[in-house]
Symmetry: C2
Subunit: 209 residues, 2 copies
Amino acid sequence: MAPHKAPDSSRRSDRSRRAIYDAALALVGEAGYRRTTIEGIAARAGVGKQTIYRWWPSKAAVLMEAFLDLATRAAEEAGPQAGGAEYGIPDTGDLAADLKLVLRATVDELNDPLMEAPTRALTAEGIVDAKLGAEFVEKLLDPQLALYVTRLRAAQEAGQLRPDADPRIALELLIAPLTHRWLLRTLPLTHAYADTIVDYALGGLAPRP
Amino acid sequence: MAPHKAPDSSRRSDRSRRAIYDAALALVGEAGYRRTTIEGIAARAGVGKQTIYRWWPSKAAVLMEAFLDLATRAAEEAGPQAGGAEYGIPDTGDLAADLKLVLRATVDELNDPLMEAPTRALTAEGIVDAKLGAEFVEKLLDPQLALYVTRLRAAQEAGQLRPDADPRIALELLIAPLTHRWLLRTLPLTHAYADTIVDYALGGLAPRP
């Protein structure tokens, strides 16, 4: 954005951005999406609201970037084996093992208190606000789903996925049950559950001969 | 509640209840859960707010009953074949056909404009409010899930479901993908999608020998 800035100023800008992300996520988790304002984020981050308006056009834009940043950090911490967004889902040749690894990491992310409140707030708002929901899906969810499509296509080429299966639909059998449990809090979301979903989805519910 | 009421008064009371349900669902769909009030429901239904307080202790209680009533009416309209809550999921001996029938009916319900806005509003609020969410699951969702458990157990006894499958988890492979598409609006929710989910879940994503 400001290519000729001195390194000092650029570091200060990075610190401000991180403070703004943290403030935005904390506020939305505490107060909900609608009661979160640019003014409130600025006050909490200790910056002027013009600083925020200089970088982002709207509250939704700040929050999307804050979530992207959070997801990137979580993926970096989890490391390449857990299938962070930058790395894709691992391909060891064992589809079931690779899916269990990545779905267990998803369980950990969803159960992480730092992620939970802001993710719930944004998801809930996207459910009633179709425009925000579409942005959420396009910017945050679809890039993750694309990783599953890539891994499932590779499995199909390796003969580990039914040749007639549509990977874009197949992935929904894997991730939707986790999302459903987490969003609706029907039953505990555990690693054992993630493993069972992979076993049922790959093996099928009908008896195998 | 008032066993010796004359029929006329009882019919009037039924009409008031229906008017209150309709007002509650319309309001929550338009304004969201938090901005819906007992006063607002009373004004819209054309009754005094004491009438509402006489029958229900809280806004949440009115809305839960309004949803139960809506679901019952939808099930009655769909008839026994579509697996209304009073009838259970049909058991023709063909598990795939029975599941497709009931999941197609679920697709129709979720896509019904009358259901959509209020259901989204209540679900969104349950996602951020754990207490309301638990009530929603206990009173509205769990009774529906129990119908799947019953049908899947019968299938297990008939040798159409893996003997080692837990029906309470198996049902999540069937219903969660539909809920996921509907809540997050990722892709269109159609009968063809419901059929594909049943095929993938029963047959499994791994190739069959």
